[in-house]
């Protein structure tokens, strides 16, 4: 039981390049989330999904797209990376949306955009 895994762990991009971050969970959770954490800041929600085929915007969605084609996977895409997107990205999943339940987090992806 791996929990929540994220691929890759580290990545360096040049401005304008694109990439996709992959999140996978093996807990059969309905809900999945993408957060970013910047130095000295708390986590901020980018997008989330309440089930396969659904996505919704979070607090800071601009510049990102997401897809949830399979229940266990949640992809975060950057179409044209900008230095402001340099951050640590965390994926999370939870069983329930009612009362949030407990969100289980992946280990993070450290992204640097030059």
């Amino acid at each position: 039981n791996a929990g929540v895994t994220q691929t890759p762990k580290f990545r360096v991009l040049k401005t304008g390049q694109s990439m996709t971050l992959l999140c996978a969970q093996d807990m059969n959770h309905e809900y999945m989330y993408w957060y970013r954490q910047d130095p000295g800041m708390g986590l901020r929600l980018i997008h989330y999904s309440v089930g396969e085929g659904t996505t919704a915007k979070g607090e800071v969605p601009d510049g990102y797209n997401v897809s949830r084609l399979k229940k266990q996977n949640f992809l975060l895409g950057l179409e044209s990376a900008a230095p402001s997107q340099t951050s640590v990205y965390f994926c999370a999943s939870s069983y329930s949306l009612v009362r949030i339940g407990t969100q289980y987090f992946g280990p993070g992806t450290r992204l640097t955009v030059l």
């Binding site: 000295g40 708390g42 009362r99 949030i100 992946g106 280990p107």
Partner: protein
């Protein structure tokens, strides 16, 4: 504007003593509060939560207190252990129309706790 505030960036405590981490919030629509613990190079892990209908929740060495009138919550760790050294995040969720969460956790900036042996 910050809806969840952790005004102390860091806290240092002696092993065996009590650690008290504080969190203030501004949104009266928050109805559920959580504390997460984060070690370097790892994702946050859930620690303890409390519903807005309660004023206290206890789990082993960890107790969370909620003062709704003051929009304040605190996490008490007794006794503190060196392994508790980590960054602690306070988070809150907003009640949705259906009674459940809207799905959006709002996090504070975190407090770095150092427990010295």
């Amino acid at each position: 504007d910050q809806q969840v505030k952790q005004n102390s960036p860091s806290l240092s405590v002696q092993e065996g003593r009590i650690s008290i981490l504080n969190c203030d919030y501004t949104n009266s629509m928050f109805d559920y509060f959580l504390w997460y613990k984060k070690y370097p190079a790892e994702g946050p892990t859930f620690l303890i939560s409390i519903s807005s209908i309660k004023d206290k929740n206890e789990d082993g060495r960890f107790t969370v207190f909620l003062n709704k009138s003051a929009k304040h919550l605190s996490l008490h760790i007794v006794p503190s252990q060196p392994g508790d050294s980590a960054v602690y995040f306070c988070a809150a969720s907003v009640k949705g129309r259906s009674g459940g969460s809207q799905g959006n956790l709002i996090f504070g900036k975190g407090t770095k706790l150092s427990v010295k042996p």
